[in-house]
């Protein structure tokens, strides 16, 4: 069955269903191979063993330990895996090029084993090798060699995590990615909001823009752009008040180069990239009225897409670039609408009770995530992209808002702010199933997360 077909089938089964996680064993020839069905769900995370990587040089001993720990933390956080405690391990492998003693690993009930080693290849170069074993089928599921500089070892750990996730679930992983967000400080009535970035696991958090105290809604370009030979840059767009009013900026993460988008007299807000990264869609406010515009980066031309006297805000492209979901109060209250990429065929998508805002199209194309407020509570929810049907609310609190999709469309991040004068924002993640609600580790209060595509 082709991947596309499989995803369609998944989509059909997902909508409106109470999704359960189960571990299935698909017979392949004589073997029963380990595969986790993340779509139909698994109440029991799959037990896996991740010993420290072998290290042949004292300089790489620490990295060998840390790498296993980072991979274990990634897999645990996904909610799909239970990484067994290292003290339980019976076999202590000394050479990863030999088969493990499967019986030893079966005894502690591990379903999969990751064994890896680090080889120091001269000054400033590491080679990492790993093998992923299916303990019950007694076969290698995956094995790769990766090379990098010692200070880049975390990326290797994330890549290996993605390989494991991909091999065991059949879906792309999302660990080797980054999150742009807003770090918050100061009291509620005098808050500083700064542009920041971190790895998907919360490591390497840093500020991206000095001396700017009100920045909001950063978002990634879905594509990496070539910058010279073998160098790629990743672009983000965000709002800053540094000119005195909210305006959309573009910035290259790696170089820090930035520019004001266009030369507009009004306020510009709620920017997002098109799926090919060539356009930006945003709202421009003229005489108090917000309408949606699209900006072509190559020609620097701007086209107006809505001409309504209502609020039209928060546009988000479908991954094929053909449609746009947005937020409008043209019907009297904030609801979700979709239209063609040229502004044609506007139709209302949300019909449930309450107020719907902040829609984001899934990178798979099948769903739209949104924020809903109803009866004094805020929710992150999803609905079918084409029909608006099958609404499912995944979270509920005093203030949940602004969902963003993992690169594989399986996990959502959002902002949650607690109630009252000492209210504080933090970033949370939740699976598409509504399970596995977790707070992300951030250096301080944080909001407005946006998830990058998988790094190149």
């Amino acid at each position: 069955m082709s991947r596309a077909l499989r995803l369609k089938e998944i989509l059909g089964k997902m909508v409106g269903a109470a999704v359960l996680f189960i571990c299935v064993f698909i017979p392949i020839q004589a073997h029963a191979q380990l595969e986790i069905d993340i779509v139909h769900g698994a109440p029991q995370p799959v037990p896996v063993a991740i010993p420290d990587f072998l290290s042949a040089h004292p300089e790489t001993d620490q990295i060998a330990k840390d790498m296993a720990a980072v991979i274990a933390a990634n897999l645990e956080r996904s909610g799909l895996f239970d990484v067994l405690d290292q003290s339980l391990y019976i076999e202590q492998q000394t050479d990863t090029d030999y088969q493990p003693r499967f019986s030893d690993w079966r005894l502690i009930n591990a379903k999969a084993l990751l064994s890896g080693k680090i080889v120091r290849e001269g000054e400033g170069r590491l080679r990492v090798e790993f093998r992923l074993w299916d303990i019950y089928a007694k076969q290698q599921l995956d094995g790769k060699r990766l090379a990098t500089t010692p200070d880049n070892w975390r990326r290797i750990a994330h890549k290996i995590s993605d390989y494991i996730y991909q091999r065991l679930t059949g879906e792309d992983g999302y660990f080797d990615s980054r999150i742009v967000f807003i770090s918050e400080s100061g009291p509620k009535t005098n808050r500083r909001k700064r542009l920041s970035i971190m790895d998907a696991d919360g490591a390497n958090a840093r500020n991206l823009l000095a001396n700017s105290d009100l920045v909001l809604t950063p978002r990634f370009s879905p594509v990496f752009e070539d910058k010279g030979v073998r160098k790629k840059v990743q672009l983000i767009t965000y709002l800053s008040w540094e000119t005195g009013r909210p305006q959309v900026f573009l910035q290259e993460i790696e170089t820090g180069n930035r520019e004001l988008l266009g030369n507009f007299s009004g306020m510009t807000i709620s920017p997002r990239f098109s799926p090919d990264g060539r356009k930006l869609i945003f709202s421009m406010i003229k005489r108090g009225n917000s309408d949606i515009y699209v900006f072509d980066r190559a020609s620097r031309s701007t086209t107006r897409l809505t001409t309504n006297q209502a609020i039209d805000v928060s546009p988000s492209f479908s991954p094929d670039g053909r449609n746009i979901v947005f937020n409008s109060d043209r019907g009297g209250s904030p609801q979700l609408y979709i239209m063609g990429a040229n502004g044609s065929n506007v139709k209302r998508l949300s019909f449930g009770e309450g107020r719907y805002t902040a829609p984001v199209w899934s990178p798979r194309g099948d769903l739209i995530a949104f924020t809903k407020s109803h009866n004094g509570q805020f929710h992150i929810g999803v609905m079918a992209a084409e029909t608006g049907k099958g609404e499912r609310l995944l979270t509920s609190s005093y203030l949940d808002e602004g969902p963003t999709w993992s690169p594989n469309g399986r996990v959502l991040l959002f902002s949650r702010e607690t109630r009252g004068q000492n209210g504080r924002s933090s970033i949370w993640s939740v699976d598409l199933t509504g399970r596995n609600l977790r707070k992300l580790p951030t250096p301080g209060a944080a909001s407005d997360p946006a998830w990058s595509p998988i790094l190149p």
């Binding site: 107020r355 805002t357 407020s373 109630r419």
Partner: protein, 189 residues
């Protein structure tokens, strides 16, 4: 005036009552020399005169410096007008405040203001930015209708990013749903 006069006379009377007459100086027999002027004896040390504490009237407040942003707020009654939930329609009270703001702006014709639109936290970020912009524009449009030149008023939205009351209740949210007229350049009448 009266008080001053009374105070002075009381002092004078007290003073004279306490002065003792100088004792006569014995005259030396000298033939030619003229009589020196009589040298008064130094006055004996006296206790300080008793001071009566008399209340003085309060200073009449003069109000803020005319033409300043404080003056603008003082004269207009408020530098903010408030809105209902998810609304940008001006209430009768808001119009009254804005008429006063317009009068001040007419009087101080050099003044420039920035109207900042604000929303409460019971909405999401981007929608609230659009809502704040509507509120700021409603204020600008009203001030312009009262004769203020549009070029003297710029608008900005802060969405829900500039709350002035951090509590989580109806009262606080109502306070945070406002448009704030900030005097950027003061006026001289």
């Amino acid at each position: 005036m009266n008080f001053k006069f009374i105070l002075l006379s009381v002092f004078a009377i007290t003073l004279s009552a306490c002065v003792t007459a100088p004792e006569p100086v014995p005259v030396k027999q000298q033939v030619v020399a003229p009589m020196p002027a009589p040298v008064p004896e130094p006055e004996p040390e006296m206790p300080p005169p008793p001071v009566a504490e008399i209340p003085i009237e309060e200073v009449v407040p003069r109000g803020p410096e005319p033409g300043t942003s404080e003056h603008f707020k003082y004269v207009s009654g408020d530098d903010r007008v408030y809105f209902d939930y998810n609304e940008h329609v001006l209430s009768p009270h808001a119009r009254e405040v804005l008429r006063s703001q317009a009068n001040w702006l007419t009087r101080y014709s050099g003044a420039i203001i920035v109207v900042g639109g604000n929303a409460d936290e019971r909405g999401t970020r981007e929608y609230n930015l659009a809502l704040g912009a509507r509120r700021a524009d409603a204020v600008k449009a009203f001030l312009v209708s009262q004769g203020v030149e549009p070029g003297r008023i710029t608008t900005v939205s802060y969405g829900k990013e500039r709350p002035i009351d951090g509590r989580a209740n109806e009262e606080a949210w109502a306070i945070n749903r406002n448009a704030h007229s900030a005097v950027l350049v003061g006026g001289i009448s």
